[in-house]
């Protein structure tokens, strides 16, 4: 009994440590945003003179709504398109036989190994050639293909029991029907997990959207924050407030969807 108690004390300690480490910097972010400019770096966790001035200033000086809408549009479109094409490709790699499969999969994987800063210039050439410079689609399309998503989906589909696929096919379902009617619903947690992850990544991306935008109406919220950061006279409370504004949608999205993350996954006993 004592031993069990020891383990659970350890558990509580480690767990608290995890949560504190995760959340503490975020608390600092919020508290900094609520401080007046000259107190941002006073290292108090609770602001001495809390104020919403920084937020007011952010909404006054920046076109936050355009930024948020652009970010939202980019992130949502990438997510939707990516989920569709990744799950399709992954299903083929996991469940179907076709000549050249191994090579094609290695091809897909190898794209993960390309460091992005190197392809900026050729990528912009391509986007410009497609007439998408200064268009949100010029930001979206290059971000859609991504080996990670294919890789994770494939892993998921591979680990689903073989009998599932076989029995559906024997029942006369076409490959496509088996995919849409059986595998997609079962992979719902994976769709949500990856969907949130793609959304967040693209919501937060900044380098590529800056390159493509040629007009302030195409600026995302992250570019707007970077604009605040880039000057010789920086108001850190403004930057922190803008960051809080930028992080609210992703936090809401995750909090809303997180309970679906693992719910659909209860496949106990389905394994061979």
């Amino acid at each position: 009994m004592a031993k069990k108690y020891g383990i659970s004390a350890l558990k509580i300690f480690v767990g608290t440590l995890f949560i504190v480490c995760s959340v503490f910097p975020i608390i600092l972010l919020i508290s900094g945003a609520l401080k007046p400019e000259n107190e941002v770096f006073d290292y108090r966790i609770i602001p001495e003179h809390p104020t919403l001035d920084a937020f007011r200033q952010v909404f006054k000086t920046m076109d936050v709504f355009t930024g948020i809408w652009n970010s939202f549009f980019i992130a949502a479109m990438v997510t939707v398109l990516a989920l569709i094409i990744h799950s399709m490709a992954a299903f083929a790699f996991a469940r179907l036989d076709f000549p050249g499969k191994k090579g094609a999969f290695m091809w897909v994987l190898s794209t993960m190994m390309i460091p992005f800063p190197v392809i900026i210039i050729p990528l912009f050439f391509i986007i410009r050639g497609m007439g998408l410079a200064n268009s949100l689609w010029g930001v979206i399309l290059p971000m859609v293909p991504h080996a990670y998503g294919v890789f994770l989906f494939r892993q998921y589909f591979v680990e689903m029991p073989d009998a599932l696929y076989e029995s559906a096919r024997i029942d006369g379902c076409s490959v496509w029907k088996t995919f849409t009617k059986i595998f997609i619903p079962l992979a719902r947690p994976m769709f949500i997990t990856l969907g949130v992850s793609f959304f967040v990544t693209n919501w937060n991306s900044y380098l590529w959207p800056t390159i493509v935008a040629q007009n302030e109406s195409k600026y995302t919220i992250q570019i707007q924050i970077a604009t605040l950061m880039g000057s010789l006279r920086i108001s850190w409370n403004l930057i922190l407030a803008a960051s809080v504004v930028a992080v609210i949608p992703t936090v809401i999205l995750f909090t809303l969807l997180q309970r679906y993350y693992l719910d659909g996954i209860k496949m106990t006993g389905m394994k061979d």
């Binding site: 400019e37 000259n38 107190e39 941002v40 770096f41 006073d42 000086t61 549009f73 949502a76 479109m77 939707v80 800063p117 900026i120 210039i121 912009f124 050439f125 410009r128 007439g131 998408l132 410079a133 200064n134 268009s135 949100l136 689609w137 979206i140 380098l207 800056t210 390159i211 040629q214 007009n215 302030e216 570019i223 970077a226 604009t227 605040l228 950061m229 880039g230 000057s231 010789l232 006279r233 920086i234 850190w236």
Partner: protein, 440 residues
């Protein structure tokens, strides 16, 4: 059952949303192309105004408001040209954004460069000479060295907009508390840093991070000893005694533990001092209006020894015109620059109202006199610092890398002399291969 129905609705809702967004997006994309198409047409036809695109890195509200106000006035004043302006985050502007735009022929018509990046654009020959708008008469109004960094082969390619100077800011209260006078020599600087350093704030803050800003603030420490980083004929002089002394000073300061080893942000930001994180900070004229003269003072950078000279560095942005633009666009760009940036009243308003910055144009300095002496700190810059300033060295990218690596090496991994010798060797090798020369 209910659940299923609900799910159906949710599903339908999601697909409607997705479809709707796609439509909006495509429409947006379409209209984009139209806009772009229109631009192309209009730059060729005589009917509509020619689109002139102006990019820079300003992000301060006052500065962009200034530019937007005058762009509107200019656009309304004539119908031949239409100027649009985009402010780009500093970090991307000087690195990825401008380079990508030029590499892919999407360059703006008007853009700005600081001495730290201008060399690559002038060397590449992507700029249009501005000799015709910067006439002899206008040139005579500028300081002697104003056009040094923007000239190539007898042509002037850029118009210097402003000039920022570097000096030493200090916290009056903290210094008084410790009974310390603002340092005037290197020895005093070290002693002051030691005396002022506490657990809560550092004695002295200078840039320890690698980069343009570190090089910028390093040069004056060499110059004030009468030394240079390059010889008169433009070749490396990095292992000279003066460079080694300056490196040693910085190294001693950092090693003493009395300085700010980890500034949470760029040292170009005066808030390190004004937030009470340090007692003294190297910073520039752009912060004059942000540092309350009641609380913070300014002195020239400390001289090497008693009675020695101080020095400063001046750097600012230059307006340039891309030669990738069409003839009409170039003409429009020049017209706008003449209208805005060659007008003394406009420049004065920009340098003294939209921000605090010196001009290299004498008549602007005269016109703005009351601002340049508006408080004690401003007066220090105007009386003591400006006369000792030399222009920032316009290094190429590779040369900049060698100089900044030298400073980093001296600060962190080897003796000042070793760092200087290595840099000297690398710089000579690079200069021989590329044929580049630098001055300062």
């Amino acid at each position: 059952m209910k659940n299923q129905e609900l799910r159906k609705y949710v599903k339908r809702g999601i697909s409607c949303l997705v479809a709707g967004m796609m439509v909006i997006g495509m429409a947006g994309c379409q209209s984009q192309e139209n806009e772009a198409g229109k631009t192309d047409d209009s730059s060729q036809s005589v009917d509509g105004p020619v689109e002139i695109v102006y990019w820079n890195q300003w992000t301060q509200e006052d500065e962009t408001a200034f530019l937007e106000k005058y762009i509107e006035e200019y656009n309304n004043s004539q119908d031949k040209y239409h100027v649009t302006f985009l402010a780009i985050p500093f970090e991307e502007y000087t690195t990825t954004k401008l380079a990508t735009a030029f590499a892919t022929n999407e360059a703006p018509d008007i853009f700005e460069c600081s001495p730290a990046i201008i060399t690559q654009y002038l060397d590449a020959g992507v700029c249009e000479p501005l000799d015709d708008i910067i006439t002899e008469e206008i040139r005579a109004d500028f300081t002697d060295s104003a056009f040094d960094t923007v000239s190539r082969d007898g042509h002037i390619y850029g118009l210097p907009l402003d000039s920022d100077l570097v000096a030493l800011y200090y916290n009056k209260e903290i210094l008084a508390e410790h009974g310390i006078e603002p340092p005037t020599t290197w020895e005093e600087l070290k002693e002051a840093a030691a005396a002022l350093n506490t657990d809560d704030y550092s004695g002295f803050t200078f840039e320890v991070d690698k980069g343009d800003w570190q090089c910028f603030t390093f040069y004056p420490f060499v110059w004030m000893q009468g030394g240079t980083l390059f010889t008169e004929d433009g070749m490396a002089n990095l292992n000279s005694e003066e460079v080694i002394n300056a490196l040693s000073l910085w190294k001693d300061l950092l090693d003493s533990g009395n300085c700010n080893e980890t500034p949470g942000r760029s040292v170009s930001d005066i808030s390190i001092l004004t937030n009470g994180e340090t007692a003294m900070q190297i910073n520039g004229s752009w912060s004059v209006l942000r540092a309350d003269p009641e609380k913070y003072g300014v002195v020239p950078l400390p001289a090497p020894e008693e009675g020695g000279n101080s020095a400063s560095v001046s750097g600012g942005w230059n307006v340039l015109v891309s030669n990738q633009s069409s003839e009409e666009e170039i003409a429009g760009a020049k017209d706008f620059i003449s209208w805005l940036w060659l007008n003394v009243d406009h420049v004065k308003e920009f340098d003294t109202e939209a921000k605090f910055s010196y001009s290299m144009r004498n008549s602007v300095i005269e016109a703005g006199e009351d601002i340049y002496y508006s408080n004690d700190n401003a007066a220090v810059f105007s009386d003591e610092v400006i006369s000792t300033a030399k222009p920032e060295i316009a290094l190429s990218g590779e040369a900049k890398e060698i100089v900044s690596t030298m400073i980093q090496n001296a600060l962190y991994s080897m003796s000042a002399k070793e760092a200087a010798e290595i840099a000297q060797e690398d710089m000579l090798k690079y200069q021989e291969e590329s044929g580049s020369v630098f001055f300062g």
